[in-house]
């Protein structure tokens, strides 16, 4: 039944009318992706662990030396190495209060920046500029944290909102350029990343930010009233940033699937021409969604400048978050809950990886390899589908952007 590629499904309405279970969720495109958003990253993780184990074995130099004389014992050593490495990885991620604290602390900016990229994807835009938006948002928060004297109850919200505005402007700029001139957001956001990074480097050496007496680009410690309060006392780094991230997950969910502007974002993402027909202002939507995306990245920047002991900021505070965010959004299939889950996963891998390196002597680079493998498996759903025999519909590739056209 493939005449012209489309056909109506056989008409099999139940006699008492159509079923209504969960209709609303599916109408807004909600119900179906949640399960998928969680299933695929999990399967990809399992595969990445298997390949990672193989890598640990292959790179076990001592065991290879013994391979000629005592092959069985050498193989045993290798398996033992895998076991120890993964045990330490798990312990480092979940094995103690400190481990959990580190996992959640590491996840916080990842989730926020992942949401930023996901929102862009939903509107058909590929925001590679999370890194730059983190820098700009983080600097806005830093300035408020250094120079505005307010009680904590006000100081933190003001600093956080400043970060959102800063990141939003930086993202919105790329959106505006696309809307006005057709400049492709991939190009503009990459370039804005460089601008933001070098601006940060310079500005941290000016008297506005630089710590007195310092010669490197490093800020003075921010005022105590602007520091994000820790949750389990100052010996654990986890702070209220994680609540901001979780609130952002629900907010983005609401925006995308329950608000009118989210409907417009998604319509423009799938079909700009149909959006135009439907009377939507596509140029405005590009700017708006890039502002929102930038604001979310800005939040990630705020958690880096307001929540990272010892509360002095160096020029590298964006770390690798901006790029991990792209992987996360893909992994979470651009669904807020998927991003939350993937962010926690990456946070656990990174936090656990540090412990693994220290305790098992396996380089933390393995974690990066595994993150990359996870993304490859996500990008190749056919492969995961073949390995796990997942139904085709469950493993459809995520819609990313509508291509390079204007």
């Amino acid at each position: 039944m493939t005449d012209q590629g489309t056909q109506s499904p056989p008409d099999e309405r139940p006699p008492n009318g159509r079923s209504f279970d969960g209709v609303m969720d599916r109408i807004a495109g909600i119900g179906e992706p949640i399960r998928r958003a969680l299933l695929l990253p999990t399967l990809a993780l399992v595969l990445a662990l298997v390949v990672g184990a193989f890598i640990i074995m292959v790179t076990d130099v001592d065991a290879w030396r013994r391979m000629g004389d005592e092959p069985l014992a050498a193989l045993g050593d290798m398996l033992d190495g895998v076991w120890v490495a993964y045990r330490e990885l798990f312990i480092g991620a979940f094995g103690s209060v400190r481990a959990l604290s580190e996992t959640l602390f590491t996840s916080t900016p990842l989730i926020l920046a992942g949401l930023a990229v996901a929102v862009g994807f939903r509107a058909g835009l590929f925001n590679i500029g999370a890194r730059g938006q983190i820098f700009v948002g983080g600097l806005f928060a830093l300035w408020v944290g250094l120079h505005v004297d307010l009680p904590a109850i006000l100081h933190i919200p003001v600093a956080v909102i400043a970060a959102m505005i800063g990141g939003g402007i930086w993202g919105g700029l790329a959106g505006l350029l696309k809307a006005r001139t057709g400049a492709h957001e991939v190009i503009t956001t990459i370039m804005l990343n460089f601008v933001a990074a070098f601006f940060t480097l310079w500005v941290l050496k000016t008297s506005v930010f630089q710590e007195e007496g310092s010669t490197i680009p490093k800020s003075a410690p921010i005022l105590e009233s602007a520091r994000l309060p820790t949750i389990f006392g100052s010996q654990y780094r986890i702070n209220i940033g994680i609540f901001i991230a979780i609130a952002a997950v629900f907010f983005v969910y609401w925006i995308l699937f329950r608000s009118t502007i989210g409907f417009e974002f998604r319509a423009a993402g799938f079909s700009p021409s149909a959006s135009l027909y439907a009377g939507m202002n596509v140029a405005f939507l590009y700017t708006a969604v890039m502002f929102l995306s930038g604001a979310l990245s800005g939040l990630a920047g705020a958690t880096q400048t307001l929540g990272l002991p010892p509360y002095t900021v160096t020029d590298n505070f964006a770390g690798n978050i901006g790029f991990d965010a792209i992987a996360l959004a893909l992994l979470g299939r651009s669904h807020p809950f998927g991003v939350l889950w993937s962010g926690l996963l990456f946070g656990a891998l990174i936090a656990g990886g540090r412990v693994m390196q220290a305790a098992a002597g396996v380089t933390v680079d393995l974690v990066i390899v595994m993150q990359s493998l996870i993304v490859i498996f996500i990008a190749a759903p056919e492969l995961v589908r073949a390995i796990f025999k997942v139904k085709a519909a469950e493993a459809e590739p995520t819609q990313v952007t509508t291509g390079w056209g204007a």
């Binding site: 056909q7 499904p9 599916r26 807004a28 939507m280």
Partner: protein, 504 residues
């Protein structure tokens, strides 16, 4: 010496695409395989061509059993297929495309260009195809590209040729030329299977008509004695009104008034070049014309999707020139866009989301900035029932629906409010007979309820059937005006070609 399909059954998950279908073609015979979209025509032909393997049944060529699910075996046995979507490399020449896969080579593997050209020329001359082997495929019109596909098939010595919806992409003149080519193939002893859902074409070209419905062969018809109505009934399974039933128009006040409108296309050509006309309440005005004479840009400009260079558009006396699509929509204009998959629908969205695509921003579908999906779902349920959209539920992606049902989603969305003016562009393109009947009925209903209706279609039959008044567009201007009741196909057709036409 025949091609025979015997008892072909093909099941896909949840559907029987072909159910015990048998069919035969003799050399020098043209069979039309007629059926609605989704009746199983293409599946059957893909089985014959070796792209699918059937669950049951066999294919015999000259009494010998054909090895199934192997396109090479089918080609070797003399079966050729001209697909609906051409499989040509645009930046290659005609000759290069034709020999792709069987390149005649010289020493060192250079392609023997002269040999390739000669092959194309020989076939082109023999069947009167008038194809130049040296042209780039991207530079030649669609009708000629189709002939390149035919040459490809003939070069591979096909004796049985399948055409999948060959006329869908052709202009009326190209269709005539195409039919002449098919008759030439017939005289040369080729067996032809012509897949279509157009009744008049099947009657014109075929020696025998086989009708498929829901995967089953529902019978054969003799084109000499059968009528379009009989065929339509066989296809749809119930009597179909092919003639649009409508009373006389009693035009009221002017609703749409277009004055000296000039519109540029994407390449800055004056595609609409000073057009003036009016549409009154209770009146259907049809714009006929060969595709590409400015109709697309005219409609886009009327509905706010394309700026105009000069001139004015009035709706109910209000100057709406340069208004936004939303402002125009709010005035009470229903717009059925030319390309439903490109602009009319967001294919990845559900039926319900598409039902509110241009009214989501207001009550009852949203309050403030919050969507009310509950209301949208219930309203969609109602519209799906009211407009006979065949879908199991309103939360499936609209891309799962057939073309006819997708179009009904648009019709339902646009007509379910107070409509002053209907602007319908190609309202039934690629839509099955049953849905065409339905959509036409709904359009006439809008007229009878007092709306002004503007129909733009490249199907002359459709314009003739619906319109109370016919305008012909040629090179961006109105080249003729006719009374719907008295116009003849010939005189309108001539005006479409830019010759004749009266301004009465």
């Amino acid at each position: 010496m025949t091609l025979e399909l015997r008892g072909i059954t093909k099941r896909f998950p949840g559907v029987v695409a072909n159910d015990d279908v048998s069919l035969s073609v003799a050399p020098g015979e043209i069979i039309a395989l007629l059926g609605e979209n989704g009746a199983g025509k293409t599946t059957l032909m893909n089985i014959l061509f070796g792209l699918y393997s059937p669950d049951e049944g066999e294919v015999l060529i000259d009494g010998k059993q054909l090895e199934l699910s192997n396109p090479s075996a089918s080609i070797a046995a003399g079966v050729g297929m001209v697909h609906q979507h051409f499989m040509l490399v645009p930046v290659f020449t005609v000759a290069e495309n034709v020999v792709l896969g069987l390149e005649p080579t010289e020493a060192l593997g250079w392609i023997d260009k002269d040999a390739a050209d000669a092959m194309v020329r020989e076939i082109s001359d023999r069947y009167n195809l008038a194809v130049d082997p040296d042209s780039m495929v991207e530079d030649i019109p669609v009708g000629v590209q189709q002939r390149v596909e035919i040459i490809k098939v003939l070069v591979r010595n096909a004796r049985y040729i399948i055409f999948d919806e060959p006329t869908a992409v052709l202009t009326p003149q190209e269709v005539e030329e195409f039919f002449a080519i098919v008759r030439g193939l017939k005289e040369d002893g080729k067996g032809v299977i012509f897949i279509s859902h157009k009744l008049n074409e099947a009657l014109e070209i075929a020696d025998r008509i086989v009708v498929l419905r829901d995967g089953k062969s529902v019978g054969e018809a003799n084109p000499k004695t059968a009528t379009e109505n009989q065929l339509a009934e066989m296809m749809v399974g119930r009597p179909v009104e092919l003639e649009v039933q409508k009373g006389l128009a009693e035009p009221g006040k002017v609703v749409l008034s277009v004055e000296n409108l000039v519109v540029l296309d994407d390449r800055d050509h004056r595609t609409v070049d000073g057009v003036t006309f009016q549409v009154r309440a209770n009146e259907v005005v049809g714009i006929a014309g060969v595709q590409g004479n400015g109709q697309t840009e005219l409609v886009e400009s009327l509905t706010g999707m394309r700026p105009s260079l000069a001139g004015h558009v009035f709706v109910d006396g209000v100057d709406v020139t340069e208004w936004s699509p939303r402002a125009i929509h709010k005035l009470g204009i229903a717009h059925i866009p030319e390309d439903r998959q490109e602009s009319g629908l967001v294919l990845q969205f559900t039926v319900a989301e598409n039902m509110v695509l241009d009214s989501y921003y207001d009550r009852p579908y949203s309050r403030g900035i919050q969507m009310d999906w509950d209301v949208a779902a219930h309203s969609s349920e109602r519209l799906v029932d009211e407009y006979d959209v065949k879908t199991s539920r309103v939360d499936v992606p609209v891309s799962d629906l057939s073309g006819g049902n997708q179009q009904k989603v648009i019709v339902a969305r646009e007509f379910d409010r107070d409509v002053k003016l209907v602007v319908a562009s190609q309202p039934t393109r690629g839509v099955d007979v049953g849905s065409i009947e339905y959509i036409h009925k709904r359009i006439i209903e809008q007229r009878d309820e007092g709306a002004a209706v503007l129909i733009v279609s490249s199907e002359l039959d459709e314009v003739m059937a619906l319109s109370d008044r016919i305008l012909v567009m040629f090179k961006g201007r109105i080249a003729g005006e006719f009374e719907g009741a008295t116009a003849t196909t010939t005189e309108v057709g001539l005006a479409m070609l830019g010759s004749g036409g009266s301004h009465d």
